[in-house]
């Protein structure tokens, strides 16, 4: 320790960080206490990482139970009430315990300060607290689940939710607490980005990942309170019969839908923007090319964050809203697609003229491309009102948002898991197994969700425990795909866990990336940099030889 403090004031001697005597953050202290009370953003990131993986597995288990139940038109393994609780749990777990915290909590926390050349986030204690608040929310939700669960779906539509005899209020409390955690994280990211950038690191030199995390944080800050309040109102309705949304007492159930989607539409971008950030990093690092247009990618994130607030009504075309409103919401939804399209084209254009190394993260990028474009285009399709009348609340919508969310967010989560694996743990995973499991994930995915588009076309409504027989074989196909997807994910996890112990040493910058998080050692020391770097280039200067690029960010 004392050595580090002395060193910090000296200019870096060995820019490669090869002779770093200071132990890395994993080995700096090893007691359990030093983990549980750590203020190191990297350790907090690891705690988030482990937690979201647990919840991904839990949510996945619920999903497999659901899919298995749907093998036959009537009862297969569970009864209707269990089924209804199961899809609620699946949705709640995946949305709030996995999808929203996954990339920001695990990777944002880990690499954001490294990319900025900072020693930590602006408020390390708040960061630690945000993890425990998240954990608390998970405990509340799991307790609610044991105490009778909730059977309302993750959307909590009233008056069903305010009259359901299940533990809806507790679920609501859990989600409220969860929102507090996201807000704490978001605030921390915003302040850090504004105040802790290294000298010379102007906004347009920052890695694109930071732009997207920044955009996400802004959305979280504006949207999450609305969700917290509307679920609080539902919980009050449920517990005390206030009747805010209950027509029995003059309340309005459609009002709840407006409030809910005012959060939950932006929430889909809370899940998506971090994914965009990961993809931008992966594409540039592995194609050794600067983004075809830095500004296009950076500003379209902000554009999406903005327009995303004005499209919520597209979830309510048949809920009893005026035709005029429906028209406006339909048109505004198209803009989101345009911003997304700009991003997609820019990524593809970035590949052009690059020098591409085809590693596992890059394969995930390819899957991402297909799933996101197809999922996004079906988004435009469902925003086309006359078509949505048929599709709304059928399996088509289920397929649409799984293509986008699972296809978009999960593939980039996996891309990030592989891409930053050497950064986080200093080891390399097995590349061949990585590619193979990635293929399994993709095939499983397509088999799971492509049939669901057709089911939706054929008219199968979502949240159906039993279904007319004509829908059976597509359901069987989908269930088969789900099992394959589950297996693929487990193998992926196994590959990474094995690499944790037996992987080859990675070295500080195994991918030859120019992004700033690779400047420091992999894994980084407890304080990231011994001296604060001075940034004299942007994060994507691939035309410079590696040594020159390295020398323009003197630090270790």
């Amino acid at each position: 320790m004392s050595e580090a403090t002395i060193d910090a004031d000296l200019p870096a001697v060995d820019p490669r960080g090869a002779g770093a005597e200071e132990p890395d953050y994993l080995r700096a202290e090893t007691s359990v206490r030093s983990w549980l009370l750590t203020k190191d953003h990297k350790r907090i990131a690891i705690m988030f990482y482990a937690s979201v993986i647990v919840f991904l597995m839990l949510g996945g288990l619920f999903a497999l139970i659901l899919r298995t139940e749907l093998l036959t038109p009537e009862k297969t393994i569970i009864d209707a009430n269990t089924y209804n609780q199961m899809f609620t749990l699946h949705g709640v777990t995946m949305v709030w315990l996995f999808m929203i915290p996954a990339i920001p909590g695990a990777f944002g926390n880990f690499v954001l300060p490294l990319m900025l050349g900072a020693k930590d986030l602006a408020f390390p204690r708040i960061n630690l607290a945000s993890y425990y608040v998240y954990a608390l929310s998970a405990i509340i939700m799991l307790t609610a689940m044991l105490a009778g669960g909730a059977d309302t779906g993750w959307t909590f539509y009233v008056p069903y939710s305010s009259t359901s005899p299940t533990a809806v209020s507790w679920m609501g409390v859990g989600i409220f607490v969860n929102g507090v955690s996201s807000i704490m994280t978001a605030l921390n990211f915003i302040v850090t980005t504004h105040t802790l950038r290294a000298k010379g690191l102007s906004w347009h030199r920052m890695p694109l990942f930071i732009w997207s995390i920044y955009g996400t944080s802004v959305i979280i800050l504006f949207a999450t309170p609305v969700l917290g309040m509307s679920l609080t109102l539902v919980a009050l309705d449920h517990s005390f019969g206030l009747g805010i949304f209950d027509p029995r007492y003059g309340g309005d159930p459609v009002l709840f839908q407006h409030l809910f989607w005012f959060y939950s539409h932006p929430a889909v971008y809370i899940m998506m923007l971090p994914a965009f950030g990961v993809i931008s990093e992966v594409v540039c690092s592995f194609s050794h090319n600067p983004p075809a247009s830095y500004r296009a990618i950076a500003y379209s994130s902000l554009g999406i964050a903005f327009v995303g607030f004005f499209t919520w009504g597209h979830h309510m075309f048949v809920a009893g809203m005026s035709e005029f409103d429906a028209g406006i919401f339909g048109a505004l939804s198209m803009f989101v697609a345009i911003f997304s399209a700009i991003k997609v084209f820019t990524w593809v254009a970035t590949l052009r003229g690059g020098s591409i190394s085809f590693a596992t993260p890059m394969l995930y990028f390819l899957w991402f491309l297909f799933l996101f474009v197809f999922g996004g285009m079906t988004g435009v399709a469902v925003a086309t009102q006359s078509l949505d009348v048929h599709w709304h609340d059928t399996y088509f919508v289920v397929a649409h948002f799984h293509f986008i969310m699972v296809g978009g967010t999960l593939t980039s989560f996996l891309a990030a898991a592989h891409y930053w694996f050497p950064k986080m743990f200093g080891k390399l995973y097995d590349e061949r197994v990585g590619l193979l499991t990635s293929v399994a994930v993709f095939i499983g995915f397509v088999f799971t969700f492509l049939p669901q588009f057709l089911l939706g076309n054929a008219g199968m409504p979502r949240r159906y425990y039993s279904y007319p027989e004509q829908y059976q074989w597509l359901n069987v196909l989908s269930t088969g795909g789900a099992w394959l997807l589950g297996a693929g994910l487990l193998l992926t996890l196994a590959n990474l866990v094995i690499a944790l112990k037996w992987g080859r040493q990675a070295g500080p910058n195994p991918w030859g990336s120019r992004s700033f998080e690779w400047i420091t050692a992999s894994p980084p020391s407890k304080h990231n940099f011994e001296s604060t770097p001075l940034v004299e280039r942007s994060a994507y200067e691939y035309d410079l030889p590696e040594e020159v690029a390295r020398a323009r960010v003197p630090a270790r």
Binding site: E74, D79, A80, N81, N84, D151, G153, Y160, T163, P165, P247, R248, Y249, D252, P253, S287, S293, V318, E323, G327, G330, A331, M334, I338, A341, V344, F345, T346, V348, A349, R352, G353, G354, S355, I356, S357, F358, M362, F365, F370, V373, F374, M377, A381, T384, Q385, S386, L387, H390, H392, D393, N457, A458, G459, P461, R462, R463, Y465, S466, D543
Partner: protein, 388 residues
Amino acid sequence: MNELMRKILFLPPQASTIASEIDQLHYFVILVTMAGATLVTVVGSYFLFRYRRTAVAADARRRGASHATPLWIELFVVVSLFGMFLAWWVIGFWQFMRVRVPPEGAMEIYVTGKQWMWKFAYPEGANSIATLYVPAGRPVKLVLTSRDVIHSFYVPDFRVKQDAVPGRLTTLWFEVKEPGRHEILCTEYCGAGHSTMRGEVIALSPQDYEGWLRGNLPEPPVAGPAYAPPAVVGEHAPRELVSMVRQGERVAAEQGCLRCHTLDGTAHLGPTWAGMFGSAVQLERGGSVVVDEAYITESMMDPLAKLHAGYQPIMPTYFGRIHPADTAAIVELIKSLRAVPVQPGGRSPWATVTPEGAEAGARAREVEGGPASAAGEIGDAGTGSERP
């Protein structure tokens, strides 16, 4: 072409007048979507291959040559994409207006969703459960509401859908092209029986429809209730699963209604319920009102608002004291009594009902069931026409 695409996409038959038009747009949108996604992926894969590191290392000229991707290409693509999305929107919105705005002179049918069945009330006074009878070749406008939670009325063959929201009226219209039967599904999650909340639209030729209204069920294969009782309801079953009317009796007894009101036409502290529904009632403050659902509900919640002439203002309010489903059940009970004549001293058809709320006997069934009481098992009225 249409048939082929429809089959490939697993779309159901196009039974309504607007269905095929909507499907045309569907084909266009889905084809472009698929093609777009594939194109982007193929271009991406091609780049991944062409600019792979091994190839670039072997041939240094490849690298950097096309470094600055012409931005105007991207701009062009984005702008034309936007044009296309806008075109979809214009067509989609135009169609949406057609789907939403019922034509003048459409025939109106009232639809009530409740856990977990659909009820239909026709302007001529008939009503039915789960099976909606409509004339083919005539626009039909449904006016929907719900008794409890939100439901959504969906007929895939017609490409129409509309939420039924408690406390609101929403509308939906369609015109069936030919006689036939079409599935109704509920698409807004509404509890344990959500997926069993199915029904059927039976489109009849105009003559058959007239006949049906007069009480002649058309011959099979066109007719017959398609409603299957919810197989799985568990503890969330609505209490009145057996019959709304029977539930009404129980509630009326439990809540003490029957201490003042009678069911058999005898006079008591409050007006008898026999024969009351649909009759005109003189009000204490002058004027009169026809007894309908609204009046009954209002009388329960705010009894003094429209006091029946000749009665004391002694009725307590039930506002906040009675579950909405129970309110509905009492309304159904009163409706079912509309044909009971007002006979002072007459015997109640519900002779088994006591203030303790004992189970009604089989006799009650006879009165309420009617010819089609197969569906009366779950319903509060027959599937056939029910006339006063």
